[in-house]
């Protein structure tokens, strides 16, 4: 049963990784509460190892939380019905190397249950949108990082999802492509799509997102929009996460 608690709701979620003997090794996420409303563009920020990707994997149902509750469209994330309403762009572009760009999109169209005609139409539209029409017949295993990123983005959109989850969407893209992705996020958001993204690039997040949560060592250290958080996202980030102590090069160079 769908509830009116938002598109994504996390209550007291924690994730502990264990070794072969079930001994706890890493506490990746601890007591995380989070809510993303319909139509919102929400950014999950934090340094490497802060638990962003683990949180996204729990939302996607790829990992079971060790504690707390995750709801996606009011359902448990292992519900195929809930997951069929989302699109996902992972941090690394996960593609089948032997498939061509067109076959890749047709494959994901099949996973989204699209009929053959709609799948073909949407494949053509998306190939044009990401500028890969001329290489549609080439296996994606031979694509550059930027091209793979573009085709992965097209894959995440082929089902016209209600919720789009973007893990580091501008990673590996040149400045022009980065600007195109940001403009795409704005356009999709204006069309009513809910977007959850993670980014290391605070400027990119600030340009496109409505609300932010900052994670550090698996805990949420700040949440809100720019008004509630302060004047600059960079300042908030540094005050909450701390300035890195840098590499101690002097000792090495002695």
């Amino acid at each position: 049963m769908e509830q009116s608690e938002g598109v994504i709701a996390l209550k007291g979620v924690s994730k502990v990784f264990r070794d072969f003997w079930l001994r706890p090794t890493v506490k990746a996420v601890e007591g995380l509460d989070l809510s993303v409303a319909k139509g919102e563009v929400f950014a999950l920020l934090g340094p490497n190892g802060s638990g962003k990707s683990t949180t996204i994997k729990m939302i996607l149902g790829l990992m079971a939380p060790s504690g707390g509750e995750v709801r996606l469209f009011g359902r448990k994330p292992d519900s195929a019905v809930a997951r069929s309403r989302l699109g996902y762009l992972p941090e690394l572009s996960y593609l089948h190397p032997y498939l061509t760009a067109r076959e890749t999109l047709m494959y994901y169209a099949g996973l989204c249950n699209l009929d053959r005609r709609t799948a073909k139409e949407r494949t053509a539209q998306l190939l044009a949108m990401v500028g890969l029409e001329s290489v549609a017949g080439r296996p994606v295993g031979g694509f550059s990082k930027g091209m793979a990123r573009r085709i992965a983005l097209a894959c995440s959109l082929i089902g016209k999802p209600e919720l789009l989850i973007l893990d580091e969407p501008t990673s590996g893209l040149d400045p022009v492509s980065t600007s195109e992705v940001k403009s795409l996020v704005k356009t999709l958001s204006a069309g009513g799509m809910t977007i959850l993204m993670t980014s290391h690039l605070l400027g990119d997040a600030q340009d496109v997102c409505d609300r932010y949560a900052i994670l550090n060592f698996g805990r949420k250290v700040a949440e809100g929009d720019l008004k509630t958080l302060g004047t600059s996202l960079q300042d908030v980030f540094l005050s909450k996460v701390g300035v890195g102590r840098g590499f101690d090069v002097a000792g090495f160079l002695k």
Partner: protein
Amino acid sequence: MRRFLSIVKTTALEALSEPLALLLTVSAMTFAALVPAMHYHQFGESSRMARDAGFSALFMFGAAYSIFMTVKGVRREIESGTISMAFAHGVSRRAFFLSKAAGSYAAFLVFAFTLIPLSLTAVNGAEIGGRVAMSTGSVARMWGPSLSIAVAAIVASLFAGAVADRFFRCRFVPSASLCALAISVAGMFYRPDFREIARLAPAFAALLMPPAVFTLVAAASAFRWKANAAAGISVLVFALWLPLLGNYYLSDALSHGGKVSWLYAAASLAALLPLAAAAAIAGIWTLEGKDITGER
């Protein structure tokens, strides 16, 4: 259903794109065509060696094909992270497991239906050749038809794969595999003996079943363990199977005009179903409880 078919098709296509798949197919074809050419082993029946070689190639190479292609396919999904993309698009874990196994088995069927017609041609060729040898005394002519077709299938398929890759931007390995299948099927119609084909059909059908179990065991193991361990466990299951040596029992039953009934094939299916079901349940249970972390 569309999701299921989409994964089955992609899995089969990926397996057929693996260079190892073509290598195993070509090796099995060579084995099936060349082993009977050792004409001094005739068991008093000119076509028996061809039949034995065909059954053995299907059983042994078929097991290797189904195990290695399944393990490779599943591990690639996990290690490259494409499994998380599939789950994120609403595919249930149960459907994913079953469709991956079905896709791998579909690729095995392409292998099997390349090899079976070639084996039937070899058996037929041996019968014709046997009569020729008796009348002319030339045993060298005995294996002519099957050898020619096998060599043509191997050489022409590699050539066709290269042409498709060079001039039409089609992938080499699947093009070559499909060409081998086409030539092998076409070769079966060289002076066909449909009565003999009908006599051998239940035996070949029975040999298509064990790879279904190997596929499911390999898939279940590969979702749980890394590639080497998964392949090792699947090969162990195959080794436990070896004392049954179904190919030789079948060959014995068919010797000197004997028959294998369709009832035998149905009984094999009934006997294998619980094993297949157990492997499928173990695989689904493993995958349902697995955290997808993008392990490498």
